[in-house]
């Protein structure tokens, strides 16, 4: 029993490494395809908006990036929890692999939000609950990455990072529901589980296709980063040596 468990633990990153390597090109390809389709729908097929005219087209970047920024954090926290509970190295590596992409997409949502807010609201930035909580999310990602890189021992770095990931996850529902719980300048959700989307369908389709592109890209980027982390951490393992010798 113990032997099998150890073997599983030992083999897991190796299996993952090869499996991910085969999947990555497909996810990048799907991301490119969805991105081209989404941009075509969003920029050419979708009509102008009745109140914001062409400025609303920022939505095709802003909303997918904002969705992913929250979703990636939740997934990261899940991996961190799994890692803490079962002490699996792969879970911690997945959490670390997701963070930079999550931080990048959080920045994209803040940046596009500022560029959208200026012409429509009249301000680049306001300290309302939605914008503030999204900014906190950005700092949580940065904190996670900074802490991990500050601690030399990977095991302790994993644990410390996992703690930030788990504590910070309470911020995600706050971001999501902020527009309902408080008076905010940010408008409410156009797409939610509780009501029909308040968007013309072609606009909605463009946004959802762009969201799919963001999904595919995130998976591809996280998988390739996870492979790098595996190589770094498992460089002493036999399978790495065998693989590199086979390649050479």
């Amino acid at each position: 029993m113990i032997n099998r468990f150890n073997k599983y633990r030992y083999a897991s990153p190796a299996t993952f490494y090869h499996f991910a390597g085969r999947l990555i090109p497909w996810f990048y390809g799907a991301a490119a395809l969805f991105c081209v389709a989404g941009l075509y729908i969003g920029l050419f097929l979708a009509p102008t908006d009745f109140q914001q005219s062409e400025a609303y087209r920022i939505i095709f970047i802003h909303v997918p990036a904002a969705w992913m920024s929250m979703f990636i954090y939740v997934v990261m926290a899940c991996w961190a929890a799994l890692g803490l509970a079962f002490n699996t190295r792969m879970s911690f590596m997945m959490a670390s692999a997701l963070a930079p992409t999550g931080a990048m997409l959080t920045f994209v949502s803040l940046w596009t939000g500022a560029l959208w807010g200026k012409p429509t609201w009249g301000a680049w930035w306001v300290w309302d609950a939605r914008l503030t909580s999204e900014l906190i999310l950005f700092f949580l990602y940065l904190g996670f990455m900074a802490l991990q890189s500050a601690i030399d021992d990977p095991r302790r770095a994993d644990r410390a990072g996992a703690l930030i990931a788990l504590v910070g996850v309470v911020n995600v529902p706050i971001i999501y529901f902020s527009v309902r719980w408080w008076n905010t300048l940010h408008q409410g959700a156009s797409v939610s589980m509780t009501k029909a989307p308040s968007m013309a369908s072609i606009m909605l389709v463009g946004m959802l296709v762009m969201a799919l592109a963001a999904w595919m890209y995130t998976i591809a980027a996280a998988l390739s980063r996870a492979r790098c982390i595996i190589l770094e951490r498992e460089r002493n393992a036999q399978w790495v040596a065998q693989m590199l010798e086979a390649d050479a």
Binding site: P47, T48, D49, F50, Q51, Q52, Y56, I59, A81, L84, A85, F86, N87, P119, T120, W121, G122, A123, V126, W127, D128, A129, L166, V167, V169, V170, I174, V179, R180, W181, W182, N183, T184, L185, Q187, G188, A189, S190, S198, M199, A200, M203
Partner: protein, 152 residues
């Protein structure tokens, strides 16, 4: 196996505990997270009178009046129950329109709100202009006025 399950439960409890603490803290600071007050809240005296705050609602139809100097504007913010008259000197945002959402920042001077910043608050509806005008026609016949977003 057992210790691992214990750990999982412990982590679960910790996350739930943190969630509860965060909710409580947020509830306590709720008033500070309010981005704007509605005219009803202002009339009820819930808004701070000694410092600047924000009023949000709809620009009342037919209330916008511009002074000949070209920069001063007067309008009223309404939440359909109460209205607050506003004076503002400066450029109004593109989406500022009668009947649309607005958030003004400033101070209450007697019963008039003197704003130093006016932001447009748009709703979450996106549609082509033709669809919007068709919808408007339909709504006018129904004679209903709906706030785009009410807090809480």
């Amino acid at each position: 196996m057992k210790t691992r399950h214990k750990k999982l439960i412990l982590i679960g409890v910790a996350v739930i505990g943190l969630g509860v603490v965060a909710t409580l803290v947020l509830n306590a600071f709720r008033s500070n997270l309010v981005f704007f007050f509605t005219p009803t809240q202002v009339v009820k005296g819930e808004a701070p009178l000694d410092r600047a705050f924000r009023v949000g609602g709809l620009v009342e139809n037919g209330s916008l009046r511009r002074e000949p100097d070209g920069v001063t504007a007067h309008f009223r913010i309404t939440d359909t129950a109460q209205t607050i008259p506003v004076t503002y000197k400066g450029l109004l945002p593109d989406l500022f329109k009668e009947g649309k959402g607005v958030v003004a920042q400033g101070r209450l001077n007697n019963s008039e709100f003197v704003a130093d910043q006016v932001l447009a608050k748009h709703d979450e509806n996106y549609m082509p202009p033709e669809a919007a005008s068709a919808l408007e026609k339909a709504q006018k016949t129904q004679k209903t006025l709906v706030l785009p977003q009410e807090g809480k």
